[in-house]
Symmetry: C2
Subunit: 267 residues, 2 copies
């Protein structure tokens, strides 16, 4: 198995720089990082990839079973790390990938030095004493709607997730990304994402961790960022002066600045 | 001029009930009220209409000059009130229409008994000591984007405004409504809306006023609801357990309950 080809791995940036591994979320691919790559490339060796089932990954490598749990996505991350023999990795995960990074770091702690979680949520559904922002019925409705009409669902879902209505091109870009994903694979990834409960995994984190949230995010209310911070001792929560669920596209400079501040490399 | 025909006036509900005049916002028409009409119709005489330039109003009655200021929209409201000889009106305005109601009530105070403002904003652009949620550049970008591609803009803007990504049919409904609006008339209404500054008008309000906001609204941050409440002495601000900019569609029961609680008619 050619992992580089399977996960469409791209390596760019400063060859001798510390490694940032950039991991996209549901319905996206490595293109999601396009606005932060130029600045980060000056100081870091950047490793980008597409999860199997997303972007330009190899569809033949997909299996419903493997990608029905977040551990399957973490396996992609670990195999990319192994293939490139990455060490001292700062894992930067967007949305559901933030939790994938937690799982990967728990499985192979020797490879990871820092975690950056962008708009993470360890559980989308409300629970006793926990507000995830959605009821169980909300999530059932979301998944049923996706399964009955994936393209229509994407066209309405993606702009709502992106927010920033004054810049509709952002929502259109996310819609295009969602629509480019195979509907069957998207269905599995969506179920895995929106039905996940990774709260217990947060306590496994031992590396310095930055949590980036936006002021307003339709996917995760402010309580979620606070929950993640409280669950990871010593972690840092930064609320960006940005809205929506994708600050790396809507506020790339603020996102880059927060990451480089955290890593102590801000120019 | 046949005002009923011009503004596509609909009268429904309890014939001898107190009057609710339901006024839609930008890019919408009276259909916006479809999910609250059945419950409100039990107790109220409901008057619905479409502003000239929206819905099934008469396009021939439109003029760029009149509809380039919120006072022009208030004129529509007042002419509907006059035509139907409405008194003791509770004006229920959504979004920009909340401010239209303020202007109408200041012009003809004898007609209005209460104001209900749903997701209002007296100014969208930040100012010294005021947070509207958008920079001047944001709003310029929004208007330029609208003017260059109205249908594309609508498809991305409407779902972002609606929020509630778990129910994409809501965003689709708003997209359809936006797209059904004449692009030239929409351009004028959008400029009038997003460049408005009606903060000084808030102090003219003398009738009991209910302000309804959602927990999360991409059009207006929480500071805006607080500003409106503070600017209208004795007004009541209710934060609905709802998200997005259109609670009458996304949370119709909570919206109806808040209105009927305020008016003292909740069953």
């Amino acid at each position: 198995m050619d992992i580089r080809r399977r996960n469409n791995v791209t390596v760019t940036g400063r060859t001798d720089g510390p490694v940032l591994l950039l991991a996209h979320g549901f319905g996206c691919d490595q293109n999601m990082w396009r606005l932060v790559v130029p600045a980060l490339a000056e100081d870091y060796r950047l490793v980008l990839f597409d999860y199997v089932g997303s972007g330009k990954s190899l569809p033949a490598a997909w299996s419903e079973q493997r990608y029905s749990s977040l551990a399957g996505y973490a396996q992609d991350v670990l195999e990319v790390c192994e293939e490139l023999d990455l060490r001292e990795v700062t894992f930067v995960g967007h949305s559901v990938s933030a939790m994938v990074g937690v799982l990967a770091a728990a499985t192979a702690p020797e490879r990871f030095s820092h975690l950056v979680m962008i708009a993470p949520s360890p559980r989308y559904i409300d629970d006793d004493g926990y507000r995830g922002g959605f009821s169980a019925e909300d999530i059932d409705e979301l998944l049923e709607s996706l399964e009955s009409n994936y393209l229509g669902w994407s066209a309405a879902m993606a702009p709502a997730i992106m927010g920033n209505p004054e810049r509709p091109e952002l929502g259109q870009e996310l819609t295009t990304s969602f629509c480019a994903t195979d509907p069957d694979m998207a269905r599995v990834f969506a179920r895995t994402t929106f039905l996940s409960d990774s709260r217990a995994d947060l306590k496994t984190v031992t590396v310095p961790t930055l949590i980036l949230e936006c002021r307003q995010d339709v996917i995760a209310p402010p309580e979620v960022g606070a929950h993640v911070r409280d669950a990871i001792p010593g972690s840092t929560l930064v609320t960006l002066d940005a809205t929506g669920h994708c600050p790396q596209l809507s506020a790339p400079q603020a996102t880059t600045a927060a990451i480089t501040d955290f890593l102590g490399t801000r120019r």
